[in-house]
C-alpha cells in the first residue's frame, strides 16, 4: 500500500479496530483529522463539552465491551477530558482517547493551546503516548487498542502533534501484536484452581463476592453456573451488579457502605470469601480488620496488583475471571462428588441468610403522597421489566438506583464507581443509546449532578438519540447533606441548592420533553408517559422527592460493615 496522510491512517486504524462511532469536539490542532473524518465511514458525534465526549465513549464501551473512542483538541480540549479519563481509569474501561497537540517543533515552547497532556494523564491512563514521528503513528494506534482492551482494560491516550497527523505515512499490514513487556495472564494456574476448589468443598458458609471484573470479562454465565450448582450466595459490588441476576434467590444484592444488611452480615459471618474480579475497595470493606474476619479468601483477578493490596489473600488466582471460573466449574464437574449434595450442605447457611433478609429487607418508610425516591426506582424497574440500561449520576440517586433496580443482566448498569464523577450519567446514557438504538436508556440523576453536563441534552437532540433523564430532585447535594445530617449536627454547609433551574422548561429549551411529578400517586403514570415519549424525544423527569430522605443501610466511614445504620 502506498502512502496516505496521517489523518487517513488514523481513520483506517479506527475502522480496522471495528470502531463505528466516536465522540469529540474540534479545534485547531485536530482540524486535519476532522476534515478527513467528514468523508469517512466513522460516525462522529459532536458533543457540547469534552468531558461529555469521553463519558459518552465510556458509556458506549461499558454497554458493548468494545473500545470507546474520543477525539479532543489540544490544550483546554484535552484538559477538559481529564475527569472523564480518570473516571474510565478507575473503573477499568477500555478506551482510546485521541488528543491533538501543537506541531512537534513547537512542543515545549508554551505554544498556543499547548499542554503536556501525556504528563497530566500519566497517573490516570493505563498507558499513553506522544507520537513524535510519522512512522510511529500506525503502530502506536494499533498498540493502544491492544493495550486498552486486553488484560485489565483501561483508557489509553494518544497525543497527536499536528504536523505528524498532516504528514504522509505508510499504512502497513496489521500483524498480531506481541509485546515483550506486556503479556497479561489469562489462564489460571491449575494448582491454585485445585486448591481453591478443595477449599470451596470444605466451606460451610461460603460467599461469592463479585466485582466489575466479572462484567468486563463477560463471565456472568460461568459465575452463575458456579453459584447455582454449588448453592453459594452472591453479593456484588456497585461495579459487579448484573454479574449475577439480581432477582435470583441466591442474590443478596450489593455489599459495603450502602449494601444490604444481608450482604454485610453474610460476609462478616462467612468462612470462605470467593472474590471474583473485585478489589476490596474501602467502600466495600469498611474497617479493614473487621472485614470477613472468619473467612479464608480466594481472590481471582487478572491484575496481580489487586491481590493482597488491601487484605491478605489465602489463595490468589491471577487470571481472566472467565477462564478461572470455567476452570473451577470444570474441576467440580470431574471431581467425582455429587454436587447437589455439596450444595445441600449450604442449606443451613442459606436459611440464616434468608432470615437476615426477612428481618431487614431493603426498605423505606412510606410518606403517603410525598414521593419516595426508592419507590420511583422500583417503578422504573417494574415498568421496564428490569431490562433498561440504567446510567446514573453520583450521590444518593446512584445508590438508590443500585439498591432498588434489579439488574438481571450484565452491562445494564452504567455508573461511575471508582471515581464517583457527578455529571457522568447523561453523556454515558447518550453513548449507550448510540450503541443500542433500540434500548430504553434511563439516566437516574440528582438535581446537582445533572447540572454538571446538562449541555449534552443538545447532543441527544442533534443526533436523535432519545434517553430519559429521571431527576430525583431533592434540591440538595443530597449525599453530602446526608453525611452532614448524621455526622455534622445537621449543619448543611454548601449543600442546599438555593437556585435550581426549572428542569421542565430547561428540557423544552433544548427541544426535549419535560414532565414534573410531585405526588406518589402520579409516579407510575409519569413514567409511563416518559416511556412513550422517549420513542421520539429525550425526556426529562423532575420528581420532587422527599427532600431529606436518606440512603440506608449505611456503614459510617471507618466502621465495620456490621455496624450499619438501618432505616
Amino acid at each position: 500500500m502506498g502512502k496516505i496522510t496521517g489523518s487517513e491512517a488514523i481513520i483506517q486504524c479506527l475502522l480496522e479496530e471495528g470502531v463505528k462511532t466516536i465522540f469529540g469536539f474540534p479545534g485547531g490542532a485536530v482540524i486535519d483529522l476532522y476534515d478527513a473524518l467528514m468523508d469517512s465511514d466513522v460516525n462522529h458525534i459532536l458533543v457540547r463539552h469534552e468531558q461529555g465526549a469521553v463519558h459518552a465513549a465510556d458509556g458506549l464501551a461499558r454497554v458493548t465491551g468494545d473500545v470507546g473512542v474520543a477525539l479532543l483538541t489540544s490544550g483546554p480540549g484535552a484538559t477538559n477530558g481529564v475527569t472523564a479519563i480518570a473516571t474510565a481509569y478507575m473503573d477499568s474501561i477500555p478506551m482510546v482517547i485521541l488528543t491533538g497537540q501543537v506541531p512537534t517543533p513547537l512542543i515545549g515552547n508554551d505554544a498556543f493551546q499547548e499542554v503536556d497532556i501525556v504528563g497530566i494523564t500519566r497517573p490516570c491512563t493505563k498507558h499513553n503516548y506522544l507520537v513524535n514521528n510519522a512512522e510511529d503513528l500506525v503502530p502506536t494506534l494499533r498498540e493502544a487498542f491492544h493495550i486498552a482492551r486486553t488484560g485489565r482494560p483501561g483508557p489509553v491516550l494518544i497525543d497527536l502533534p499536528k504536523d505528524v497527523v498532516a504528514s504522509m505515512v505508510e499504512f502497513s499490514e496489521k500483524k498480531p501484536i506481541r509485546m515483550q513487556n506486556y503479556q497479561p495472564t489469562y489462564e489460571p494456574h491449575l494448582g491454585q484452581v485445585e486448591k481453591a476448589c478443595k477449599e470451596i468443598l470444605k466451606a460451610k458458609q461460603p460467599v461469592l463476592y463479585v466485582g466489575g471484573g466479572v462484567i468486563l470479562s463477560n463471565s456472568n454465565e460461568e459465575l452463575t453456573e458456579l453459584a447455582q450448582t454449588l448453592n453459594i450466595p452472591v453479593t456484588m459490588t456497585l461495579m459487579g451488579l448484573g454479574g449475577f441476576p439480581g432477582g435470583d434467590p441466591l442474590s443478596m444484592g450489593m455489599l459495603g457502605m450502602h449494601g444490604s444488611y444481608t450482604s454485610n452480615m453474610a460476609v462478616a459471618k462467612s468462612d470462605l470469601l470467593i472474590a471474583v474480579g473485585a478489589r476490596f475497595d474501602d467502600r466495600v470493606t469498611g474497617r479493614i480488620d473487621a472485614f470477613a474476619p472468619h473467612a479464608k479468601i480466594i481472590h481471582i483477578d487478572i491484575d496481580p496488583t489487586s491481590i493482597s493490596k488491601n487484605v491478605d489473600v489465602d489463595i490468589p488466582i491471577v487470571a481472566d475471571c472467565k477462564h478461572a471460573l470455567a476452570a473451577i466449574n470444570n474441576w467440580f464437574v470431574s471431581c467425582g462428588q455429587d454436587l447437589n449434595e455439596v450444595g445441600a450442605t449450604h442449606s443451613e447457611w442459606i436459611e440464616t441468610i434468608k432470615e437476615w433478609t426477612r428481618k431487614h429487607p431493603m426498605a423505606y418508610a412510606d410518606e403517603g403522597e410525598v414521593i419516595k425516591p426508592q419507590f420511583v426506582v422500583e417503578k422504573l424497574d417494574e415498568l421496564t421489566g428490569g431490562d433498561a440500561i440504567i446510567t446514573t449520576e453520583v450521590g444518593q440517586n446512584q445508590m438508590w438506583a443500585a439498591q432498588f433496580y434489579k439488574f438481571n443482566k450484565p452491562r445494564r448498569l452504567v455508573t461511575s464507581g471508582g471515581l464517583g464523577t457527578m455529571g457522568y450519567g447523561l453523556p454515558a446514557a447518550i453513548g449507550a443509546k448510540m450503541a443500542f438504538p433500540d434500548a430504553t436508556v434511563i439516566d437516574i440523576a440528582g438535581d446537582g449532578s445533572i447540572q454538571m453536563n446538562i449541555q449534552e441534552l443538545a447532543t441527544s437532540k442533534q443526533y436523535d438519540c432519545p434517553v430519559i433523564v429521571c431527576i430525583l430532585n431533592n434540591n440538595y447535594l443530597g449525599m453530602v447533606r446526608q453525611w452532614q445530617e448524621l455526622f455534622y449536627d445537621k449543619r448543611y454547609a454548601a449543600t442546599v441548592m438555593e437556585v435550581t433551574p426549572d428542569f421542565v422548561a430547561l428540557a423544552e429549551a433544548y427541544g426535549a420533553v419535560g414532565f414534573r411529578c410531585d405526588k406518589t400517586s402520579e409516579v407510575e403514570a409519569t413514567i409511563k408517559k416518559a416511556l412513550e415519549a422517549v420513542k421520539k424525544s429525550t425526556v426529562v423527569l423532575d420528581f420532587r422527592i422527599s427532600r431529606e430522605e436518606g440512603v440506608f443501610p449505611m456503614v459510617p466511614a471507618g466502621k465495620a460493615t456490621t455496624e450499619m445504620l438501618l432505616v
Binding site: 501525556v118 504528563g119 500519566r122 497517573p123 493505563k126 498507558h127 506522544l130 493495550i147 509485546m179 515483550q180 513487556n181 506486556y182 491484575d303 496481580p304 496488583t305 493482597s308 493490596k309 491478605d312
Partner: protein, 159 residues
C-alpha cells in the same frame, strides 16, 4: 526493611517519570535511584533502593511490572549481590591536614581527582556504608562539597 530493586525498562522519554510518578502517587519511598542505558541501547537499567514491609515491597514490584514500559523487575536484595555507590568529596587539604587526608584516602582506596592549593577532590566507590564511613572521618577535617550517586547493584552469578 531495605530492598534494592533492579528494573529493566524501555529507554524512551517519559519512562523515568512513570516510575517516579508511581512512587509519589502511591506514597512509596525512594531512598536512591540511578539509571543508565544498558548494552542494548533501547533499554535502561534502573537501580532503586526503597524501604518498606514485605507486603509494600511486593506491591511496589507488582506496580512496577504493571507499567507498560517496564520489562523486568528483580528484588536483587533477596539473594547475594554487589552494590556500589560513588562519591566525589572536596575536602580541605592545607599544610597541617594534607598528610592525614591522603592517609584516609589511601585506607579507603580512594583517588585524588582534582587538586587546588587548599583542597583535594576525592573519588571513592563502595557500598553505601563505606561511603558514609569516609564522610564521617573527613568531616572533622572539613568537607567543602560533596556529590554522591545513587546505589547501583548487580546480583552475584549463581555458583
Amino acid at each position: 526493611m531495605k530492598h534494592t530493586l533492579s528494573v529493566l525498562l524501555q529507554n524512551k522519554p517519559g519512562v523515568l517519570s512513570r516510575v517516579t510518578g508511581l512512587f509519589s502517587g502511591r506514597g512509596f519511598n525512594i531512598e536512591s535511584l540511578s539509571v543508565a542505558e544498558t548494552l542494548d541501547s533501547s533499554l535502561s537499567c534502573l537501580t532503586l533502593v526503597t524501604t518498606g514491609s514485605d507486603a509494600i515491597v511486593e506491591q511496589i514490584t507488582k506496580q512496577l511490572h504493571k507499567l507498560i514500559d517496564v520489562i523486568k523487575v528483580t528484588d536483587i536484595s533477596e539473594s547475594e549481590y554487589v552494590e556500589r555507590e560513588m562519591a566525589l568529596i572536596r575536602v580541605k587539604a592545607e599544610n597541617t591536614t594534607r598528610a592525614e587526608v591522603l592517609r584516609v584516602i589511601d585506607i579507603f582506596r580512594g583517588k585524588v581527582v582534582d587538586v587546588s592549593p587548599k583542597a583535594y577532590a576525592v573519588e571513592v566507590t563502595g557500598s553505601a556504608t563505606k561511603i558514609q564511613a569516609i564522610i564521617d572521618i573527613l568531616r572533622p577535617i572539613g568537607i567543602k562539597e560533596i556529590v554522591r550517586t545513587g546505589t547501583i547493584a548487580m546480583a552475584r552469578a549463581p555458583k
